[in-house]
C-alpha cells in the first residue's frame, strides 16, 4: 500500500479548486455558486495543511491560516446568504438569469 505524499494532496486540492471555478462559471443558482466558492476555499485549506505537513513542518503559519480561512468563509457565507434572501424578496427567484436589470 502506497503512502499518500505531497503530490497526491496537491493534485486533489488543485482538482477541487478547478471544480469550484467551473461550478462558479456554469451554475446559475446563487446558492450553488456560493457552494462553488466554498469548494475553492476548502481546496486552499488542503493546500496549506499539506504544505505545512510535508514541506515546512517547523513553521505553523499554514495551520493558523487555515483556521482564519474557515472563519472568514463563514462570515462571507453569512453576508452572501443575507443578500440572497433580500434578492429573493424582490425578484422571487435565486436564479442569476432573473437578476439582469443592468447590462452593458
Amino acid at each position: 500500500m502506497m503512502e499518500p505524499g505531497l503530490y497526491h494532496i496537491l493534485f486533489i486540492s488543485a482538482t477541487l479548486f478547478f471544480i469550484g471555478v467551473f461550478g462558479f462559471f456554469t451554475r446559475r443558482n446563487l446558492i450553488t455558486m456560493l457552494m462553488s466558492v466554498e469548494l475553492i476555499l476548502n481546496s486552499v485549506n488542503l493546500n496549506f495543511i499539506a504544505f505545512n505537513k510535508y514541506v515546512w513542518p517547523n513553521r505553523l503559519d499554514g495551520v493558523f491560516f487555515t483556521i482564519f480561512v474557515i472563519a472568514i468563509a463563514a462570515a462571507e457565507a453569512a453576508t452572501a446568504i443575507a443578500i440572497i434572501i433580500n434578492l429573493y424578496r424582490s425578484h422571487h427567484s435565486i436564479d442569476v438569469e432573473n437578476a439582469e436589470e443592468m447590462k452593458y
Binding site: 479548486f17 469550484g20 462558479f24 446563487l30 455558486m33 456560493l34 466558492v37 475553492i40 476555499l41 481546496s43 486552499v44 493546500n47 496549506f48 499539506a50 504544505f51 514541506v55 515546512w56 513553521r59 503559519d61 499554514g62 493558523f64 491560516f65 482564519f68 480561512v69 472568514i72 462570515a75 462571507e76 453576508t79 452572501a80 443575507a82 443578500i83 440572497i84 433580500n86 434578492l87 424578496r89 424582490s90 425578484h91 442569476v96 437578476a99 439582469e100 436589470e101 443592468m102 447590462k103
Partner: protein, 465 residues
C-alpha cells in the same frame, strides 16, 4: 502595552467610534438629523486627530507596521469618509438605517487601515476581507430597489471568488517559500515557476479589487445599482486603499520579480485605459459613466505603479488624493440630483446651468480635473503619474497613456456640454442644496484647485516616500 495603544492609535479610534454607534443604536432612538450631525462631527474629529500623536513602529512581530507615509494614507482615507458623510446628507436623512450604514462603513474603513499597515499575508487577507464584506452589505441599502440587491449580489460573489483566488496564491507562496511575512519574503523569492504562478494568482486578486480590465466586469453593475454613497466609497476609498498596498507589495515583497510584474502591469494598464475609455463613450447613465471613467483612471494609476521608486509611490499617493476630491465632487453632484429628483441620465443634465449654477460649476471643475486639464489638480496628478511611469524609459507606453487622456477628454466634455450649452424644455428644477452637502462640495472644489497649485503638497508626499 503603551506601544500597543499609541502605534495603533487610528485603528483604536475607529473601533471606538463603531462601538459608540452600536450603543447609540441600542439606546433610545435619535432623530436622523441630529444623529447625522453627531456622526459628521465625530468623523471630522477623527480626521483632525489623525495628524496628532502619531508614533511609527511595528507590532506583533512585524504583522502590523506604521510609518509616516502610512499615516498620511490613513488620513487621506479618513478625509474621504468625512466628505462622504457631508455630501450625501439628503440620502442619509431619509435612510431608515443610518446607524447601521455608518457602522458598516467604519468597519470597512478599519479594514482598510489594517490593510495599509499589514506586514504579513495573514493580516493582509483578513484586512482585505474586512474591507470588502461590509461594502457588499452597504451596496444593498436601497432596500426597496431591485437593482440594489442585484448589485450587492454581484459584488459579494465576485469578491468571494477573487478572495478564493487570492488565497490560492497565498497558499502557493507559503508552499514555495515557507513564510508569509513581508519582511522575509523578498529574500526567498526568485523567478522559479511556482513563484511566478503564485504571483499571477495574487496579481489577479489585486486586479479584481482594483477593477483592472479584464477583471472589471462587476464594476459598472455594482456602481449603478448601489446607493450613491456606497458607489463613491467603493470608487474612491476601496480603490485608494488597494492601490496603496498594491504598490508597496510590488515594490517591497515582489522586488526580485520586477521584470515580470513590470510587463504585466504595462499590458494591463494599456488594456484598462483603452477599454475603460471606449466603454465610457457610450454610457447614458451618469453612474455607469463615472464607473467606466474610474476604470480608465485605474489604468493611469497603473502607469504610475509601473515606475521606479520613490517617484511611483509619491505620484500614486498624490493622484489618489486628487482623485478623491474630483471623484467625490462628481459623485456628490450626481448624488444630490439623484436623491432629490431621481434623475440619473446624462440627458437629464441638459440645461442644468440655467437652474443650478453652483452644482454645474462644481461638476465642471470635477470633470475637468478627472480629464486632467490645467490648472486643476487632475492635470498635475496625471503629469506626475506619467513622469513616474517614464522613469523606466518605455516611451511607447507613456505615449499610449497620453493619447488615452485625449480620448477621455471627449466624454468628459460631452457631459459638460450637456450641462452648460444644450437647451432643455424641462431642466432639473432649482434644488435647495443641503448646507452640509454644500460645505462638502466647497471642500472638494477647494481641494481640486489648491492641491495642484500648492507645490508643498507633492513635496511633502515625496519627502515621506
Amino acid at each position: 502595552m503603551n506601544e500597543l495603544l499609541t502605534i495603533m492609535k487610528s485603528e483604536w479610534v475607529i473601533s471606538l467610534l463603531i462601538f459608540l454607534l452600536l450603543f447609540i443604536k441600542l439606546g433610545k432612538g435619535m432623530k436622523n438629523e441630529s444623529l447625522l450631525l453627531l456622526i459628521q462631527v465625530l468623523l471630522l474629529l477623527n480626521f483632525i486627530g489623525g495628524f496628532f500623536f502619531n508614533t511609527e513602529g511595528s507590532l506583533f512581530a512585524g504583522m502590523y507596521h506604521s510609518t509616516a507615509l502610512i499615516i498620511l494614507q490613513k488620513n487621506i482615507l479618513s478625509l474621504g469618509v468625512y466628505l462622504i458623510s457631508l455630501l450625501f446628507a439628503d440620502w442619509f436623512k431619509r435612510s431608515e438605517h443610518l446607524t447601521e450604514y455608518f457602522i458598516l462603513m467604519l468597519s470597512a474603513l478599519l479594514g482598510m487601515f489594517f490593510l495599509i499597515s499589514s506586514g504579513n499575508l495573514l493580516m493582509f487577507f483578513l484586512a482585505l476581507e474586512l474591507a470588502t464584506i461590509p461594502v457588499a452589505a452597504m451596496a444593498n441599502f436601497d432596500l426597496g430597489k431591485k437593482i440594489s440587491s442585484e448589485a450587492a449580489m454581484k459584488m459579494i460573489l465576485s469578491s468571494a471568488f477573487s478572495s478564493g483566488i487570492l488565497l490560492f496564491g497565498i497558499s502557493l507562496v507559503y508552499g514555495a517559500t515557507g513564510t508569509i511575512n513581508f519582511a522575509e519574503l523578498p529574500a526567498q523569492m526568485n523567478n522559479g515557476p511556482l513563484h511566478i504562478l503564485a504571483f499571477v494568482f495574487l496579481f489577479t486578486a489585486f486586479a479584481f479589487k482594483l477593477s483592472v480590465v479584464p477583471f472589471h466586469l462587476w464594476t459598472a453593475d455594482v456602481y449603478e445599482g448601489a446607493p450613491m454613497a456606497t458607489t463613491s466609497f467603493l470608487s474612491v476609498l476601496s480603490k485608494g486603499a488597494v492601490a496603496f498596498i498594491f504598490i508597496s507589495t510590488l515594490n517591497k515583497v515582489f522586488l526580485p520579480m520586477q521584470e515580470i510584474w513590470y510587463n504585466m502591469v504595462m499590458i494591463l494598464s494599456i488594456l484598462t485605459m483603452i477599454i475603460g475609455n471606449l466603454f465610457a463613450l457610450r454610457q447614458q447613465n451618469i453612474k455607469r459613466f463615472l464607473a467606466f471613467s474610474s476604470i480608465a483612471q485605474v489604468g493611469f494609476i497603473l502607469v504610475g505603479v509601473s515606475g521606479k521608486e520613490p517617484e511611483s509611490t509619491a505620484s500614486v499617493v498624490f493622484f489618489i488624493l486628487v482623485y478623491l476630491f474630483s471623484n467625490l465632487a462628481a459623485f456628490g453632484v450626481a448624488g444630490i440630483i439623484s436623491a432629490m429628483t431621481g434623475k440619473e441620465n446624462v440627458n437629464d443634465y441638459k440645461g442644468l446651468y440655467q437652474t443650478n449654477p453652483f452644482l454645474s460649476w462644481v461638476l465642471a471643475l470635477a470633470l475637468f480635473s478627472l480629464a486632467g486639464i490645467p490648472p486643476t489638480a487632475g492635470f498635475f496628478g496625471k503629469l506626475f503619474l506619467l513622469t513616474a511611469g517614464g522613469t523606466k524609459a518605455s516611451y511607447l507606453f507613456i505615449t499610449i497613456a497620453a493619447l488615452n487622456m485625449i480620448v477621455s477628454l471627449y466624454y468628459y466634455l460631452r457631459v459638460i456640454r450637456a450641462v452648460f450649452m444644450d437647451k432643455n424644455e424641462e431642466p432639473v428644477e432649482k434644488l435647495v442644496v443641503n448646507p452640509s452637502a454644500r460645505l462638502g462640495l466647497l471642500i472638494c472644489g477647494a481641494g481640486i484647485l489648491l492641491t495642484g497649485i500648492l507645490s508643498w503638497v507633492y513635496d511633502y508626499i515625496q519627502s515621506l516616500c
